[in-house]
Amino acid sequence: MTTPGAKLKKRTLMVTHSSRALNGSISGLHQVNHSSRHTGSNVSRKGLSMAGDSRSTIQTPRQTVRVLNENGTDVTPQPISHPEPGAKHNRVYLDEFSGPSDILSMLYQPTTAASLTVPFSRSVFCSSKISRSSLSTIESVNEERVDTFYKQDNYPASYVQVEREEVKEQVTEDMLNEVVNIYLTETETITHLDMPGISVSVDADDAEAIKERNNRYAELCKNRMGNDKYMDRSMQAFIGASKSKQVQCDSIVMVDTACEATTWDMYDSFYGAEQDKTELTAEPEKSGYSESIVNSSRGPEKTTSLLSTTSIATSASSSQREIETGMCSDDAADPRLILQSEKFQKVLLVMERCILANIFQPKLAAYRQLPIVEDCDSVVTPETMEHREEDVERSLSPTLESLWVFSCELTKGRTISCMAWNKKNPDLLAVGYGEFDFRDQTPGLVCCWSLKNPTWPERVYHCNTGVTSLDFSAKHPYRLAVGMTDGTIAIYYVYSQDKTCAVSSSKCSKKHYSSTWQVKWAEQDMGLSGDDKEEALMSISADGRISKWFLHDDLDCVELMRLKRMQEEKDEMETEVKDKKKKGEILRSLNAGFCFDFHPVDSSIYLAGSIDGTIYKCSSSNSQQFLETYSQHFGPVTRIKWCPFNPNVFLSCSLDWTIKLWIQDQLTPLLCLTSTQKQVHDIMWSPKWATVFGAINEGQMKIWNLDYSTLDPVIVHMAAPGVKMTSLLFALQTDCVLVGDNSGQVTVYQIKNFTVGEGNQVDTLESIISSAVARL
């Protein structure tokens, strides 16, 4: 501390603190300057702010000692702990320095004094150059900056925030969002501890030598006792003075992570990403969910914050974000999306069927001929006990027990005109609703009911006019042919929910111009060989024509037969004989056809019933002449049915109150059955027994067994008062029968206590027929 010139080199102490006490150690020559300097620096320091954005905050005074050696490098011993975390927010002004490269290098590398030599040296030089008078601001600024560097030197890099004065927030945002390349490199292997093992394998090369040494040592140990060569002696070792040292580190942040590795979780992680890609493309609107699916497929790690006990539940793949207390609300469209989705409809369908299965379970079990098991949980009251006793006491005569009713609001008040089972799915029933009265022009309805849901039809088709007949196709079970009172024939495709009719015959030029009374799918030989069979739709209508329809793009028909009146044929013959000239184009009115049926074996032969009671037997290959004509009925023939078991026998019923049993070759019926003086609307052979058939009068349903009696039906079931029965259908695989009436209800009855005998009674029928033939 001698000359001012030496001040530069020998400057060992520079205090940046406002305390004057240290000034005393410096030579008195500079004391005033120091103090002034320091005062000035203090003032300016106060003006400059180190923490925070504004420059007006007062710096907390800190006590730092800097030691510079001859060259001006800073060799101050650095303290171990820095109890001032507030300084981490120090900002460095980049203006004075060479550029961000310095700063960045400072940030990312472990701080060494060497890296800071440049600024320090610069500042030192600056400070040395500046004259005393102008020391005040610049030097202090440099001091400040240097100090901050010096301070920041010892902090971990993350505490330093680099920012430019002008642009403050933007930089941080940008820096946060920009892609930072982090290069991970591997250091050399640092061996902290190496404890080589002391055991050697027996197979090692130097095992022998080691064994030798071991033996020698053992001998040595043995000889040690009492041996003069060895002497015990104690020694004292230095015990170093222990010193406790404190180390402070950052608080260790603990995070709980749980990981679930169930089988499905792993499966989802492997295959879920692929599947979800396709899902994402297919359903772009469900963006919220798909995002989280992708999240979950990235890795099995999910933070289960609260539920530790039910850990399986919390990381299910179906729920992506498991936050128990607060639910993340997505946009409001999601509930609506759910409610409008197809999946929701399907689930509701299944749910409805489940509920109805619960309600109708005993009835359906009876239908399927399963034993009805009583519900053990049901509460048994004394009233139910009485009912059960009454049931047991009832007579064991054959009866019909009502199981359930197919009806809904849509069908209330409508007359059921026809019913048909689906050929492939025996649980599917199509019912046509339409009035028989021509004057009643209410629009008709076709409902497809499923046994699984008796309260609402699966499909509902509204038609322009009343429906008179239905038939499901056998080859394409989804096709439903519908005949209507205005002569139109329509084919509906039942598999889709689309309500529009598939094809209609309204555009066909040769369509029926009067009511189509019956439609039927039948297989017809198309080619010359017998193998080529195609299914075609046949229809008979009140305009007296039987047409065969083809379905290409639209329905087109070919006339199979015209039902000419018998009298007119005779007239024709007479006129032909009498006067050939007069034979001209006489418009003959045709016999309105009511019903027809195709032979079960040879489908080219069919019977057609007409309005004047005549039954024509025709062949589809001959469209000019009838094979046979049976005219024993006095009223319109409402139904003709071939017997499914005996190909020669058929039944016909008509509005003249009679049911007649015929044999193919004979022109007079074998049997004529009448029980009441009411019009018979419908008959059907039982699919199970050859001698059993059912018939419907207006108010009664009768089941006949020819074996039992040909005079009286076995079962007579009265309809509810005011209700007329209109349609009959036997269930195909069970002993149930369906009856449709004019109030829109289809009631399913089970035939009880009906003993017929073994087998399907074909032989019995044969015998009855032969005996009847013999009687004629």
């Binding site: 499905w264 539940a313 729920s319 639910m327 609300s329 509930p335 759910i338 409610l339 929701f344 489940c354």
Partner: protein, 133 residues
Amino acid sequence: MTATLHFRSGKKRQFRFSWQQRDALNRRRNNPTIPKMASEVEETLKRIEGQRGVVGTVVCNADGIPIRSSLDGVATAQYARLLRKLTVMAKSAVRDIDPQNDLTFLRLRSQKCEIMVGLENEFLVIVIQNLHQ
């Protein structure tokens, strides 16, 4: 009382308690400007609710928040919460056995009633039916 959750990816979500969510849903539901679900679905749901013995129906989304319910608030929340846990466990069990399989329907029959749960990835349909009169 609301708070906003800021995610690292930049998304912001409103933090809501379950009762707030329910209120918001009710407000949305009663708001006439919001279109209702398809009429067919509405009809089917009404039919289900009108079937014999059905106590109520609850439709909730994948997180277990009820979207639509015919029961009162307390019962709805209870059913949704409890059945969601159960269905998640059941689904986990089914998929553990065969990961390609998935749970579609769950029926719980008890002495007094039957609880039926129809499942999909996005929602849950719960129907409670009393078995005996």
